[in-house]
Symmetry: C2
Subunit: 341 residues, 2 copies
């Protein structure tokens, strides 16, 4: 039977890098089952045209697809009534509770970490209210941290750490201020190795922790202290961009949004309106996201082939897009990767 | 009449760097009025001894003092019933609504920015609840953003920008997700130049904005794009630590907590339990915080003398603490500064 992959380029350079990832997947040949691609819509552009940022057909992706690749979404520069980020909604609708973002430098051995970001709650529940008072408007947002979500993201972090040479989980929190919410996150993740049923499985994994502000500081100063970093949603969002700065470009950093029954690859970069349409977007984050998606589907060999080819192209340094100091076009980088596959 | 300064060393290396700042102030001689120091208590150690982290006498600081210097507080490694961070409480009690954190590199001209952090609300209102449900515990925190607090921190940011050569304010937010709370922050700060009474005062100040995750990424890649960064409380907390990584050590970064009627200097670093009591804490952040405090009190000449001496010692590079790669003790660094005053 075939492997059905939903493609959701969405906005901006998403429409340039998702086709690049598709070409790479197509070039893998017999390492994969026959591929079937399904084009799906989402995004701010779509919203301005149709009034819907995330059509039902896209939400129903699990019906017709085994996995997906998502591009990037544009953020309107002012609040637009009725618009809400489709990527945030999709993560929640499909219960893709783990956002896994490996940040590995080809040049610096000290940078080899994975940010494991909780993907469904924290401030991303988007429960906000606005009230009018005598001294002006007051806005409130709810930050939700549940034991259930903390436990499953914690378990994911321990599983990932177990498969890595360093075997260390660092819990990121701010429980010196948020003693209840971040206290619950920290305590729940810490308790994962003692869960019933786990029985010794994670005994070889070391647990560390860092307060989020100091974690960002140390990420820049001593990236080698990190292996797997597990964080509530917003801290994970900030941390993964911070980590991307260590490897030279956001255009290199992949991710998957993973749940228990579905996985969606997604480059960490945004829609990059400043370079949209120029054919110079770095396709490597999207291509690596495709590899990460394959790894999650247990096509390890195919994933290895992609990663090896990408690393080769980066190390060689001859065919690179401008974000990495090169002069090549998106297509030229894709072709360089394909030659190395 | 004399200048009365409250000293609140609190925990850890706070007890080593606040005396260093005091010695520096004392050495300024006739550039300042007669100095009167008042020793005040706060901190986690105090809490474990007395049950109170912030005695009333310390909260009443405005009664007997013109300004203050705060050291650092330790965070308990587990939740401790009844303990709550005294620095967060003090900022709120004294309505020190602006946390001003200049990050300037002596070596890299591209790093010359100020983080202006809102200091009284956001998730720091500490309104948290815990509920028990069938699927486990659920914790919620409230993030509060008011028009009033956003307006006054925005005004502070514009005032600071006006006094700087670059004259640019960058608003940090995440309104692509938090459209109501961060939407209000962004919109309110943007509207500051059009407030009644402001009438053209800020016409020369340019306004930019960045989404917080991308702001941290760009901070590392292109710090020169920033002049004054204005941010809600938690983003400001993270951003200022991130910026500190650019200048080589948290031990160099000062701040003031400023309100309309009181100012409190505070190094950005923490209590550093790992090096506490060894006499090797970097005193420069605390000394620079004293300078910043003086600047706020309009003792510009005295502040300039301190900053010039500190920059000299850093540039010279001979007498530095271990965090900067040196071998000197806290006291030796203080003496090097005093020699240059
Ligand atoms: C576009 C935005 C909603 C998104 C997020 O905050 O999750 C992005 O920053 C990311 O990291 O995937
Ligand atoms: C110690 C902690 C409560 C504090 C904060 O989060 O404000 C610290 O990180 C700071 O930046 O001053």
């Amino acid at each position: 039977s075939s492997l059905r992959i939903g493609l959701i380029p969405a906005d901006g350079i998403g429409r340039e890098v998702i086709p690049a990832a598709r070409r790479t997947l197509e070039a893998l040949g017999s390492d994969l089952p026959k591929l079937e691609f399904h084009d799906l819509l989402a995004g701010f552009d779509l919203f301005t045209k149709t009034g819907a940022a995330l059509p039902n057909e896209t939400i129903d992706i699990e019906g017709g697809c085994d996995a997906a690749l998502f591009g990037a979404v544009s953020s309107p520069s002012r609040k637009v009534a009725g618009y809400s980020s489709p990527i945030v909604a999709l993560r929640k609708e499909l219960d893709l509770y783990a956002n896994i973002r490996p940040v590995v430098s080809v040049e610096k051995p000290s940078v080899d970490l994975v940010v494991v970001r909780e993907n469904t709650e924290c401030l991303y529940v988007k429960q906000e209210t606005l009230t009018h008072t005598d001294s002006g408007r007051e806005a409130r947002a709810t930050r939700l941290i549940t034991e259930r979500a903390s436990r499953r993201i914690g378990t994911m972090a321990f599983e990932l750490a177990l498969a890595r040479p360093r075997k260390q989980v660092t819990i990121i929190h701010k429980s010196n201020v948020l003693s209840v919410t971040d206290g619950l996150f920290r305590e729940t993740v810490r308790a994962v190795p003692r869960l019933p049923g786990v029985s010794g499985r994670f005994d070889s994994v070391a647990i560390a922790e860092q307060i989020v502000d100091s974690a960002v500081y140390r990420l820049f100063r001593e990236p080698e202290i990190y292996d797997v970093m597990v964080a509530p949603n917003l801290y994970g969002d900030i941390l993964s961009d911070a980590a991307a700065a260590l490897v030279g470009s956001l255009g290199l950093v992949p991710s998957v949004n993973a749940g228990d029954s579905f996985v969606m690859g997604e480059p960490v970069h945004g829609s990059a309106p400043d370079i949209e349409g120029q054919g110079i977007a770095n396709p490597l984050a999207a291509i690596r996201s495709a590899a990460l998606m394959l790894r999650h589907l247990k096509y390890e060999d195919a994933a290895d082939r992609i990663d090896t080819a990408v690393n080769h192209v980066i190390r060689e340094g001859r065919v690179l897009t401008p974000d990495l100091g090169g002069k090549s076009k998106t297509d030229e980088v894709v072709e360089a990767v394909l030659r190395r596959l």
